[in-house]
Subunit: 253 residues, 2 copies
């Protein structure tokens, strides 16, 4: 019954001592960090039979605010923005999602935000009902979802502090450091050179500022030597210390 990979690489199908033939999840890039990490191979197989991968281009919408919620998603690659709109078009981005992130907390029947790709991305779509069936029989998963939700609330509260009480400079500094942390997840340490897949307008709508204010503040940071703008929408953090004290509202200069 042994099956060897034709290319000689250790077969991902041999994980866990059992053969998981035709289980696409076993080879999944974000398997260990996504919600799925909480699932046994059997549950994963069960779920994977209903999962579908979706490829998105920059600007593609996954679902709109108000749409009936029909699925959960795991971001396999790329980046998304989540946002809410007011009647007159004012927009608030409530979060950015990256590789490994989960979309599915915070809605029951209808979506309460729009989800849109910032760049070409790949999602794993899990039908609502199927996922909930699995979740109901996998306490591990329930536990993990609760942990994720808990972290979500914590970061939402941090964002409230930012939006309600921080200055433009403090907001931008907080944002850059957050991006650095997020992008350093895989390396398990903050990155000094971060890629910024969102536009200035997106940053503004996330930070409760206008494009112009974001741009001006970026320029100020650049002039002060705190950051450096590189090609391809990358920013290098040059003075993390000062940036941190600004972000925490300790530095009034």
């Amino acid at each position: 019954m042994m099956k060897t990979d034709s290319n000689g690489l250790p077969s991902v199908q041999q994980l866990n001592g059992t053969f998981e033939i035709a289980n696409p999840c076993a080879a999944c890039d974000v398997r260990t960090r996504a919600v799925c990490a909480a699932l046994s191979n059997a549950e994963l197989t069960e779920l994977s039979q209903h999962s579908r991968h979706k490829d998105l281009s920059a600007g593609d919408t996954v679902f709109f605010e108000g749409d009936p919620a029909e699925a959960y998603y795991v971001v396999m690659d790329g980046a998304l923005k989540l946002y809410k709109l007011l009647a007159d078009g004012r927009r608030q981005i409530t979060g950015f999602l990256f590789k490994g992130d989960f979309v599915g907390l915070a809605f029951h029947t209808d979506h309460i935000f729009t989800a849109e790709a910032l760049k070409s991305s790949k999602l794993c779509q899990l039908p609502k009902q199927k996922f909930e069936n699995v979740a109901d029989h996998a306490p591990q998963l329930g536990h993990r979802l609760l942990t994720l939700a808990s972290a979500g609330i914590a970061s939402a509260q941090e964002q409230m502090l930012l939006l309600g009480r921080k200055t433009a400079a403090e907001r931008l500094a907080s944002f850059l450091l957050w991006l650095s942390t997020v992008q350093g997840r895989e390396a398990a340490k903050p990155l000094d050179r971060i890629s910024v897949p969102m536009s200035r307008a997106d940053m503004g709508d996330y930070l409760g500022l206008t494009v112009e204010t974001v741009s001006r503040t970026v320029t100020k940071f650049k002039t002060s030597g705190l950051i450096r703008l590189c090609d391809h929408n990358e920013i290098e953090i040059c003075d993390r210390e000062t940036l941190s004290s600004i972000a925490d509202g300790e530095d009034l200069s």
Copy 2:
């Protein structure tokens, strides 16, 4: 083994056909609406053996941001505010809790906000470990917690929209309507006369405004006939329609 009430009232200990001697939860005022609603009587008995009631006066602190988290709480009566501080004292209130609300999402080891009583209140304190033990064996409870967390994220996103994109008038209108909804929970319909247990400063720190701006905006609403200030920190909503359209950013007058 029969035990009759000395005062002759129908004994709450006789609920559910079994004798729940010394189960204070059975008589609990918020039993049906709090997290506890998800627990069976047996689980409730188990948990209640470790629960402790705490009486608070206005201004009393339940725990501080940064303190190690040692317990979960259910608000049995009264009202709390949750807030975060910046180094220089700027404050953001991230939520108000009322009768039936649960404190315990959004922290794992340390508290990420301070919890303080707005007026004299009564809490039910559930030791962290005990509660989690029960939760681990009661999928119903896990499910309920997830629902609560989900609702928490949803309202946090709504608050981000408010803080990031709404004007002072829109914020206040949203707040008043929210208070109306919350206080109408028991009656299952929004109340027109609401009690406002928090100070103008608290409202400001919740809405990302200063005391003065809150006060001015309240006056403006009063002058426009949208609300009426009554005695004892009560406010009457006179024109819910207009207030709603302002809250949703539809009305620019």
